[in-house]
């Protein structure tokens, strides 16, 4: 059994940033375990730019951004176990992992979860029809093109306008594929506005809002999909069906934080984020286990993700889990889908991140407790695709009284 100060599960951007920060904040032995043979998680396949703009002022590609952290991790002599899959955790902070050398047991003072997320499949949307080849999640198609030099197909339809789907629309166009359109069930695109412009508009790729795919046809390879406009209840409107011939369907239906390891030891999960419920230290419901990156919440910008991951790394190194007697809950109110952290155990300057329900203009973000407004901030516009983060001062008396906090959007 190896003993370490901080063990980190997942060597994506969150795991790397957390590891560097843990080391900078006093942890002596830091180890990262990752199931892939490379570092950087999903970044090596994200060869488009836009990474690191906020953090460094330079727009980098995914591999470039990953390299920046890989170099820092190397400089800080962080131990990395690649091709190592964590099989289980226990509440005493022991990790069981497997690699080609055998079963590994690692006892840690703190554990950081940074397992990332996985993509939703066809069966999340329950799309009926045949079950041919040629249906890929957008990220899998991205891996085939960018990492393996393999083309998934030629005539492409994309379902879902999440960022990965938008980026793939452009990527496939670059490679000479015929990108026939992006179909989105919502009345607005779910990816970042800049991606809609740079990936679809600039290449005349049609975006079908308020549409969905109602049928998949092709007994062996995909032959066509049927798209239809939807009504207010998201049911297809009869008469609006249109059959589009294609050989490839990419699914960009959203991401699910990967938390099987967490749920197996009873870590409490937020039903909306899909990630662990955390306090202001990004500590989960099991003391000493912290969470960051896309397994905590699905981020839209890596800069933001790294910044939060660094806090997790610091807290894990310092084992920050100071608790007052009372724990208060932070609840999403009107117009807000979720807020992180979900619980508070100490007062002071707290970093919040949240997503709103729908795109709106000129709103006021408010933190309320016991009928009193304790924080407010004006926002010119809000969009579910853009995560909102801010710091707010939470007074000590609030925790003493034990009133829950509500975060909401007002006009």
């Amino acid at each position: 059994m190896t003993t370490v100060d901080v063990a980190i599960i997942g060597a994506g951007p969150a795991g790397l940033a957390a590891a560097v920060s843990a080391k900078q904040n006093g942890a002596k032995n830091v180890i990262i375990l990752d199931r892939n043979s490379w570092l950087g998680g999903i970044l090596p396949q994200c060869i488009h730019d836009g990474f690191g703009v906020i953090e460094t002022g330079t727009s980098m590609t995914g591999p470039e951004y990953a390299n920046m952290y890989i170099q820092m991790a190397e400089k800080h002599k962080i131990t990395l176990l690649s091709e190592t899959m964590v099989l289980s955790l226990d509440k005493n902070l022991t990790i069981t992992a497997v690699n080609k050398k055998g079963l590994q047991k690692i006892k840690a003072r703190s554990i950081i979860l940074s397992m990332g997320c996985r993509e939703r499949t066809r069966w999340f949307a329950m799309i009926p029809g045949d079950r041919p080849s040629g249906i890929y999640t957008a990220g899998v198609a991205q891996a085939f093109i960018n990492l393996y030099n393999i083309m998934p197909g030629k005539n492409i339809i994309i379902l879902g306008s999440g960022d990965v789907g938008l980026i793939m629309a452009r990527r496939l166009k670059f490679e000479g594929a015929n990108v026939l359109g992006v179909v989105e069930i919502l009345p607005f695109p779910s990816g970042l506005p800049r991606n809609v412009v740079q990936c679809l508009d600039d290449y005349d790729i049609p975006l079908y809002l308020n549409h969905t795919i109602t049928y998949i046809q092709g007994r062996e390879r995909l032959e066509s999909v049927t798209i239809a406009q939807i009504d207010k209840n998201r049911n297809p409107l009869p008469g609006t069906e249109k059959k589009i011939k294609c050989d490839t369907l990419l699914l960009s239906l959203g991401l699910i934080p990967e938390n099987e390891l967490a749920t197996n030891i009873g870590i409490k999960i937020d039903n909306i984020t899909g990630g662990p419920v955390v306090n202001q230290f990004l500590e989960t419901s099991i003391p000493g286990v912290y969470a960051c990156g896309n397994c905590l919440q699905v981020y839209d910008l890596v800069d933001e993700l790294s910044s939060d991951a660094k806090r997790a790394g610091k807290n894990a190194a310092q084992k920050n889990n100071l608790k007052t007697k009372k724990i208060i809950k932070i609840n999403p109110g009107k117009g807000v889908r979720y807020v992180i952290p979900q619980v508070l155990t100490t007062p002071g300057k707290i970093h919040f991140s949240l997503r709103v329900e729908k795109p709106e203009e000129s709103k006021k973000l408010i933190i309320k407790s016991d009928g009193k407004e304790i924080f407010s901030k004006k926002l010119a516009w809000v969009n579910p695709a853009n995560m909102i983060s801010f710091d707010a001062e939470i007074p000590a008396e609030l925790l003493e009284k034990g009133h829950d906090v509500e975060v909401r959007l007002d006009d």
């Binding site: 199931r35 091709e83 899959m85 099989l87 069981t96 497997v98 690699n99 080609k100 050398k101 055998g102 079963l103 996985r118 993509e119 499949t121 066809r122 069966w123 999340f124 329950m126 009926p128 029809g129 045949d130 079950r131 041919p132 080849s133 040629g134 999640t137 990220g139 899998v140 891996a143 085939f144 093109i145 990492l147 393996y148 030099n149 393999i150 083309m151 998934p152 197909g153 030629k154 490679e175 109602t214 007994r219 062996e220 390879r221 050989d247």
Partner: protein, 485 residues
């Protein structure tokens, strides 16, 4: 042209069980399967139930082979190392009329000599999530993985020199004097005996040599697969009372040996026996009907949906259940037909295979194959082992230390073993059905790229030839950029 003693059309559970049975004798046997692997149609898309025999008419072939087959599964399970779980089933009644139906089922079962049947008060059944007034307990109903069983039969047959021709469709058949001339999409073959185990295509095969005196009515059944997370909702199979007019058993809840739960199947007569689609309306109906059985069933639990097609000999207008027809053709001696093998076909398969072997032995002299090699019992999956066993295995072969499928924790060594199958099946599905890579909640999101890599590294496969599941189900359209070697 080489003359085979026996040619079998169809590599489903029936064709594979017959091939395996015949492998015990000194015979040249060839099997034609139009799919890219055995168990590529109805034999893979069913509930995986070893039926007890309570649903078949006393005196019928179905009842006979079902009860006989059921008793063979314990020893088959040991021989192949494939788990059979005798989890039993409850047929549940929600009102007085249905309770009467339970008594009828019990009577039929007893006539068929099904042991241990009991009607239990709804409050006393062992399933806490299943409300009902009364239930018939059927202890001799079990579960098995239907594709794993079929694959095991076929692979051991192949190891005993039975020739399996995959992606080979029989396109023509002629009886010439004392032998059959068999045309396929690939080659021509010759055999003394022809066994028609073509399932839904059994009529097409008959019609190549004689006028069929029957029709096939394909009846589609859709299924939903639940995430293993919800595998504890029930421990046994839960059936409603059968839907008489449709001649099917109704939407039921079936645990699988691997820990998932299946909902289904629906029953819908269709014209085209290849039309294995899933439909929005049936997916909704299945969830609704399953919720009537298990009110606690969560909404977002489904990780996959598929359908299988029953081979029925009764028209939907006539309804009800026809019996199997298993006999040598009077018009075409040497043609052994297996017609209308629907549920309980999986259960009946080993008993049917013995019976067909007897028919073969009446036509040609058969001698024991003294070189018969017993199957190597299936190794425990890596994910099923304890830490010590896992450790020991990795020391022997480091490839067991590399997880390829994260959801089901399948290792690189297991994927390579699957690819090394004696049938030469190399599709993603053939890997999936052998070692479960790709069967979990991410449905291949993580492992597909690794399996493709292993195929390229170990088999020198051109990426354009990698298929999902069937002869034309190509995965890719070439390299993004061709690299000249």
């Amino acid at each position: 042209m080489k003359n085979y003693h026996v040619a079998i059309v169809g590599g489903g559970v029936i064709g594979s069980a017959i091939a395996w049975e015949l492998a015990h004798y000194k015979l040249d046997v060839i099997v034609f399967e139009k799919g890219s692997d055995v168990a590529s149609a109805t034999s893979k898309a069913n509930s995986g139930v070893i039926h007890s025999g309570i649903n078949s008419k006393p005196g019928s072939l179905k009842a006979f082979f079902c009860v006989q087959g059921n008793q063979m599964f314990n020893s088959l399970s040991k021989e192949f190392g494939i788990p059979v779980k005798w989890i039993g089933k409850y047929v549940i009644a929600k009102n007085e009329n249905e309770t009467k139906e339970l008594e009828n089922l019990k009577r039929v079962g007893e006539k068929n000599k099904v042991p241990g049947l009991k009607i239990i008060n709804g409050s006393k059944i062992s399933e806490k999530n299943v409300p009902c007034t009364q239930a018939l307990w059927v202890p001799t109903a079990g579960i098995i993985s239907p594709y794993e069983f079929t694959i095991a039969l076929a692979e051991n047959a192949a190891e005993n020199n039975i020739k399996f021709c995959l992606e080979t469709k029989v396109t023509g058949l002629k009886k010439q004097q004392d032998h059959f001339l068999i045309k396929t999409n690939k080659d021509e073959y010759q055999s003394d005996i022809l066994i028609n185990a073509a399932g839904l295509n059994c009529r097409e095969i008959v019609s190549m040599v004689e006028e069929p005196d029957f029709n096939v009515y394909p009846c589609r059944g859709e299924y939903l697969v639940l995430d293993k997370k919800y595998g504890n909702l029930v421990k046994s199979m839960i059936y409603p009372v059968p839907v008489k007019e449709l001649g099917v058993l109704g939407v039921h809840i079936t645990p699988t040996t691997e820990g998932n739960i299946l909902l289904g199947p629906s029953a819908e007569y269709i014209d085209d026996s290849e039309d294995k689609i899933t439909t929005k309306s049936m997916m909704t109906t299945l969830l609704k009907e399953a919720k009537e059985i298990i009110p606690k069933l969560p909404d977002r639990a489904v990780i996959n949906a598929y359908s299988g097609i029953r081979c029925k000999l009764e028209s939907p207008e006539h309804g009800g259940l026809a019996d199997y027809r298993i006999q040598e053709s009077k018009q075409t001696p040497g043609l052994i037909n297996l017609l209308g093998i629907e549920s309980p076909g999986l259960t009946a398969a080993p008993a049917i295979a013995k019976h067909v072997t007897e028919i073969v032995s009446k036509n040609i002299e058969i001698k024991n194959n003294t070189n018969y090699k017993k199957p190597k019992p299936r190794m425990k999956r890596f994910a099923e082992m304890n830490s010590q066993q896992q450790s020991d295995l990795i020391k022997k072969d480091a490839r067991y230390g590399r997880i390829v499928c994260r959801c089901e924790q399948v290792t690189e060594a297991e994927v390579i073993n699957a690819l090394n199958n004696p049938l030469g099946a190399h599709t993603l599905s053939s890997v999936k059905y052998r070692c479960r890579a790709g069967m979990g909640r991410c449905q291949g999101g993580f492992c597909t790229q690794h399996i493709v890599r292993l195929l390229e590294e170990n088999y020198d496969v051109n990426i354009n030839d990698i298929k999902l599941k069937s002869p034309d189900s190509y995965l890719f359209s070439g390299r993004t950029h061709e690299v000249k070697k």
